[in-house]
């Protein structure tokens, strides 16, 4: 699908720090996290520093007092992307957030209390925060965004679904601009999930799949004179149910784009990253200055998009960004410099 989404703002919360500079230049530190099933066993993870003043400032907001970490990641990334947006513009801003597992920490705490202490002990404070769109509502409320708000769910490709939805809202003139974000929070139960999926293993003898967390997003509008970088094509819906099907789905997806277009190297350490590398390696423009930030599903998709946009500012005029969903579908988008 051809589009003309101008990227006019961006925001980042990642394990390497807060803001674009951290995304492009900083190194995250590993933290060791225990499995729920075996608390004596651990795996390296990348965690966002919740004590960072940029995040702590939001914890004082009444609406965010009980919010989960994902709520803080989101509101900070959103505020960065909105920098420069007037109150009038904010009133005409839509909000779309793509999640994979959402407020997993609260969901675990809520269910664990039921299992451990019985249904009577279930906390009415926790349950509302387990709902997917709770952090979306918090962000819109705190930042006075008065347009529509959607919470979307899926694998990494939900990031493309969110961008396509933004294009739809803008095309239908429902709002002037849309804030599109991807966000995930780490919870030890994820380690058990990844372990059972067979993903927690050394990737190529020297690196390892590291679960991560954070948020990132872009503020987009229909292209206007003076806009620099645009998202010019998005393709999704190439589903798979096996590794063989995934390779075929990736081939069909990438064939939708100009075959001579350079490609932003995928920094994910996952078997789908290998599929991508085999298909696209000859076209890679290395993002090798950038650190590996771990695996944070929709947030990773957003980080990769922002890194590619930064490369447009440095050297490239257009780039293909593969967005391979780990559980459902292969997708990709194209970004271009237009001035």
């Amino acid at each position: 699908m051809k589009t003309d989404l101008a990227v006019i703002g961006q925001g980042v919360v990642c394990p390497a720090g807060i803001g674009m500079a951290a995304l492009l230049h900083a190194q995250p530190s590993e933290t060791i996290s225990p499995f729920v099933s075996r608390p004596d066993r651990h795996w390296p993870t990348f965690r966002v520093n919740l004590n960072d003043p940029s995040l702590q400032r939001w914890q004082k907001q009444p609406r965010l007092r009980r919010a989960s970490p994902i709520g803080y990641f989101l509101v900070e990334a959103a505020e960065q992307a909105l920098m420069g947006s007037s109150a009038a513009h904010r009133a005409q801003t839509g909000l779309i957030v793509a999640f994979s597992t959402g407020c997993l920490g609260y969901s675990r705490r809520f269910f664990e209390s039921i299992v451990a202490e019985g249904q009577k002990s279930a906390s009415p404070m926790l349950f509302p925060e387990t709902v997917f769109n709770s952090p979306v509502s918090h962000v819109a409320s705190v930042l006075n965004l008065e347009g529509s708000a959607y919470a979307l769910v899926g694998d990494e490709a939900a990031w493309i679904g969110a961008l396509k939805t933004a294009w739809l809202w803008l095309e239908q003139e429902q709002v002037e601009q849309v804030l599109v974000l991807g966000a995930e929070e780490f919870e030890s139960a994820s380690l058990d999930a990844y372990y059972n999926a067979g993903w927690l293993k050394h990737h190529d003898d020297k690196s390892v799949f590291i679960p991560s967390e954070g948020a990132a997003g872009v503020l987009v509008r229909r292209t206007q004179p003076g806009d620099a970088n645009i998202i010019s094509q998005m393709e999704d819906g190439f589903i798979y149910r096996s590794k063989t099907e995934a390779r075929s789905a990736a081939q069909r997806c990438f064939q939708q784009f100009d075959s001579s277009m350079p490609c932003a190297e995928n920094s994910q350490r996952h078997w789908l990253g290998d599929v991508e590398r085999k298909l696209l390696q000859a076209r890679y423009r290395k993002l090798d200055k950038h650190a590996y930030l771990g695996e944070a599903t929709t947030a990773s998709a957003a980080w990769n998009t922002l890194r590619a946009l930064a490369l447009l500012d440095q050297s490239e005029t257009r780039l293909l960004i593969p967005i391979s969903g780990k559980t459902h579908q292969i997708a990709a988008l194209q970004v271009e410099k237009i001035y």
């Binding site: 729920v36 997917f132 769109n133 708000a149 059972n196």
Partner: protein, 406 residues
């Protein structure tokens, strides 16, 4: 909306029936599906009743594979199959005639029962052989189940806007068609009862231990339910090329967010008024032209009051032209499926002229009493019908269906 959108197919599995005709017949007859909840233990809860759906058979799925399909998928697949069949989009082997078919769906919990199973196991320190539960709880797995069972692929979107999601998914599908992004979309919502969600509403004291009494002064809470509903939306040109007669138009969609509180609407229902106006503006009609509203009407103390005031504001205090009912008293609150199932009920009211009665009334809220559907005013010739939903996080959505005139 720029390009017209028509409905050509519909299907539903609800606690009242395994198909839309079954559900509609029971609904119009004034039946409700409240029953004792046996799907999981509720002994520690205040409430022990819900509206439970009977799972239709899945003849195309091998018995061994059936245990690997979530309850959510077992509700969604037959509803989607019924919708595709009624749109004449299924071949003789039950597969989609369109190999690429965009999908816009909603849920709030996906296959959460599998997620609960996974959590229980790891909390009990079981470590391995848990791939099945963890993979199948993800909502995209239900999308894959639908795509596999019905033989299509293509772009899909899963909207999780709490209890308005089902209306959002339909509205999103309509926007895809009206913008030219797609010519035909399968859309709807699904939700299965799960312990985590049931206990969540129970601990909030949102569920009732009495009867579910929407828009009644004696209302004390909601009845949870489950189900799925799907529609096939198309451009009239696409339907025309296939030789299919549209059932009606989807003429308006409004959506917005009420930021007053995470779990409560603003006391005057202002956001809902804005959303309903947005939907009627899109349909290019006046509020008075809406003859029936399938209301959200959860029967919780905090919802029905503001919703009532929203209707009064929307109609300038004159409710004489409209009939209103909440079908949640009959099928329960189906959360992520509610907006889709209730949209189909509004659509059926439009096309049949029969209105679902408001069940369990004892002492109707005076401000809306005259508009509530009773046995005496349960039929009407409608040109337009609306379905309205609100949800946690302040999600509000309204859909307008209009008669199709060639």
């Amino acid at each position: 909306m720029r390009r017209p959108v028509v409905v050509t197919g519909m299907g539903a599995v609800t606690p009242l029936g395994e198909t839309l005709p079954q559900s509609w017949k029971a609904l119009i007859a004034g039946q409700d599906a409240e029953t004792s909840l046996e799907l999981f233990d509720t002994s520690g809860c205040r409430c022990h009743r819900a509206a439970v759906a009977s799972l239709p058979p899945l003849p195309h799925v091998k018995p061994k594979a059936l245990s690997r399909i979530s309850r959510a998928s077992r509700l969604a697949i037959p509803a989607a199959r019924e919708a595709l069949a009624s749109a004449q989009l299924l071949d003789s082997e039950g597969q989609s005639l369109l190999p690429v078919l965009p999908l816009s769906v909603s849920t709030t919990a996906g296959g959460m029962a599998f997620g609960e199973d996974f959590f229980r196991n790891i909390l009990a320190h079981k470590r391995s052989r848990l791939l099945g539960p963890v993979a199948r709880y993800l909502p995209e797995q239900q999308v894959l189940d639908l795509q596999k069972a019905l033989g299509f692929e293509g772009p899909s979107i899963i909207i999780a806007n709490a209890c308005a999601s089902g209306a959002n998914s339909i509205g999103h599908a309509a926007a895809m068609i009206s913008s030219g992004m797609a010519d035909c979309v399968l859309t709807g919502g699904f939700e299965a009862l799960t312990e985590l969600v049931f206990v969540g509403f129970d601990c909030l004291h949102a569920t009732t231990t009495d009867r579910c009494r929407p828009f009644d002064l004696k209302r004390s809470g909601l009845l949870l339910g489950e189900g799925a509903a799907f529609l096939v939306l198309e451009s009239p040109e696409h339907a025309g090329k296939r030789g299919v007669q549209p059932l009606c138009r989807l003429s308006g969609y409004g959506h917005g967010t009420d930021y007053f509180h995470l779990t409560q609407p603003q006391s005057q229902g202002e956001a809902l008024v804005k959303v309903m106006r947005s939907a009627t503006d899109a349909a290019n009609i006046a509020p008075q032209e809406i003859g029936y509203i399938n209301a959200h009407g959860t029967a919780t103390p905090v919802n029905d009051g503001p919703e009532t005031l929203a209707y009064r504001t929307f109609y300038n205090d004159d409710l004489s032209h409209v009939r209103i009912s909440s079908t949640k008293a009959a099928i329960g609150h189906t959360l992520g499926a509610a907006g889709s199932i209730e949209a189909l009920f509004a659509l059926m009211a439009l096309t049949t002229g029969k209105l679902p009665p408001q069940l369990n009334l004892q002492e109707p809220i005076p401000e809306i009493a005259s508009a509530l559907v009773t046995e005496k005013n349960a039929s009407a010739s409608l040109s337009h019908a609306m379905s309205v939903n609100l949800g946690f996080g302040g999600s509000n959505a309204a859909l307008v269906f209009s008669r199709y005139e060639n």
